[in-house]
Structures are given as C-alpha cells and as structure tokens.
Symmetry: C2
Subunit: 121 residues, 2 copies
C-alpha cells in the first residue's frame, strides 16, 4: 500500500487519448489520460464509465447535449449511451471503469486500445 | 448526464466519517466524506477500497506502517487488510468501493453505517 500522486503520474507521458492504468480494484480499473482534440463517437454496451477531471476541462458530447466537465468535476456515462470527448486544450482526466472496457467501445479504429494492451504506470 | 462538482457537494455537509454517495456505476459507489480524528480499526473481507484525497491529508494506518495521503493522491487498501484513517485536521476524501461495503467492515460500532443507510447527495 502506498500513496499514488496523480500529478507525478501525469507528468510521465504526453500522449493524448492513451489511458494508463494507475490502480485496479474490485475488477475495476482506475486510469488516467490526457484528452486533446476530438475522440470518435462510441458507446460501451455493458459498462458505465466515469470521467473525473484533474486538470483543465473538456466537453463530453452526447447526441442530444454537451456536458462541459471542468477540474474538480466528474460525469458518469451510463452503459449504452453514445458519447465522445472533445477537448479544445489538453485536459487531464481520471477514468473509473470495469477492467473489460475497450476505450472505443463498440467501434474499432486508430484510437482503439484493447484492455490487455493498457500500460500500467 | 451532468457534471457533478465535488467542492459543491462537499460544501453541503460538515459531519465527519459519514460517507455520502455521489454516483453509482458498475455496482460500485463513489462516495465523498470528511475525515477528522481517528476511525476504528477494521477490514473488508471481500472489497478493495480506494481513498482519493480532494482536500487536506490524512494518515492511513496499517498494522505495520502508516501511509500519509495528501490532496491529489490516492491509496488502495486491498480486501482483508486491517486499516484505519487518522486525520489530524479535516480532510475531504473520495471513496470508490463496491455498493456492498459497510464503512466499518468487520466491526460494528457507533461509527457504523450500513450500505442501505447511505445518504445520496
């Protein structure tokens, strides 16, 4: 058991939309990622997904609305709901989701990272 | 779907060691709590528990060591490991754990709040 410093972990990479695992518990993964630009539309059939903003802000776009999530705020995307993050500037985000989640959900494209391919920091 | 502001939620209560639910996803609860003073020793037989510090700091005491967790840091306590939080000053903490968790784990005392008794903010 140790204290994990999120800023320290974030300082170790610059890639955007490449989530890194910082903890695993109860079959769930805690990941951190940097967001910048527009991520593809997708949904996760069986997994809810939580986005907690650590630095900056981003827009979580749904088909019928946009939710701006800023530092110190979070948003939960229920399973099955199409969404895409759009970040005008770099945002640092913590994600909570089951260990089974593929980042692009029902879509496979150049952004896809399968769960088994995730880097552990 | 909406953005939940953690500071706003924290400003709605002052009680210590009374976790409040701010989100539920994938059978897990996201809770916030204020810590101050010494919580009883306990463990959770079947649940890992994550503590993320939002404001301040606290000591997470284990039988063989103490881990100080400060703002922007988190610590995961694996299932079965005895622990107790000790906060010299008020600390604001986010907890991530299964919906089944009793806050005092294997112990029932005046601090105990059963899962079904949790307040939703």
């Amino acid at each position: 058991m140790q204290a994990i410093n999120l800023a320290d972990k974030l300082s170790t990479f610059d890639e955007v939309y490449v989530p890194k695992v910082v903890a695993e518990l109860n079959g769930q993964l805690v990941k951190i990622a940097k967001f910048h630009g527009t991520f593809p539309w997708h949904s996760h059939a069986d997994e809810d997904e939580m986005f907690l903003v650590l630095e900056g802000r981003f827009d979580l776009e749904f088909r019928d609305r946009t939710v701006t999530v800023s530092k110190g705020e979070f948003c939960v995307v229920p399973r099955g709901v199409e969404h895409r993050p759009v970040a005008a500037e770099v945002a640092s985000v913590m994600l909570f989701e089951p260990a089974t989640v593929r980042n692009t959900g029902d879509v496979v494209n150049e952004r896809t990272i399968e769960a088994e391919g995730l880097e552990r920091l």
